[in-house]
Amino acid sequence: DAGVTQSPTHLIKTRGQQVTLRCSPKSGHDTVSWYQQALGQGPQFIFQYYEEEERQRGNFPDRFSGHQFPNYSSELNVNALLLGDSALYLCASSFPGGYTYEQYFGPGTRLTVT
């Protein structure tokens, strides 16, 4: 099991463009969360998808949207890119059940907006 995978690894976009990032969860996991990690900061929760629906959302504008597919993979879309969107985007997967969910993180996609 390769664990959580993300693509692409790096991405350079221009301000105003749109970007799509992809994530495949760890085998057996059905919940996907997305985090933004700016340089020198801890990851910040964007949103979480479960059963193809957004279940929780952090304090991010509507420019950030997502999708989950029947195979549990997920996409993060960001419209009208701003310079401040430059960050490492992390995907984490988990599975329901039990009292606490352990989240497994992917390697991240480094987005640079110029």
């Binding site: 969360s33 985090y35 801890g42 979480q48 352990e102």
Partner: protein, 113 residues
């Protein structure tokens, strides 16, 4: 709103010395606290969680609700402990933890030989 504070961005110790990485939190409910670690060129991974009350790689962390702290400790640091450490809090909405994590800013631990 929940918040996690790690007051030290950098922490340096010598091999064999005790180490303590500080974490304080603010949360109105009953928190679930975690420590995540990121070794060089590796992905973020769970080190330990307060609910398990376990020791992983010699590290322990005790949840102190009175002081709202969850400090990470190890009595004898090793060079391989050098990494970035994040304290994280999970909300517990309606008795079900959906796993949304709020992270601190992280502490870079360097253990010198």
């Amino acid at each position: 709103a929940q918040r996690v504070t790690q007051p030290e961005k950098l922490l340096s110790v010598f091999k064999g010395a005790p180490v303590e990485l500080k974490c304080n939190y603010s949360y109105s409910g009953s928190p679930e606290l975690f420590w995540y670690v990121q070794y060089s060129r590796q992905r973020l991974q769970l080190l330990l969680r307060h609910i398990s009350r376990e020791s992983i790689k010699g590290f322990t962390a005790d949840l102190n609700k009175g002081e709202t702290s969850f400090h990470l400790k190890k009595p004898f640091a090793q060079e391989e402990d050098s990494a970035m450490y994040y304290c994280a809090l999970s909300d517990n909405a309606g008795g079900t933890s959906y796993g949304k994590l709020t992270f601190g800013q992280g502490t870079i631990l360097t253990v010198h030989p």
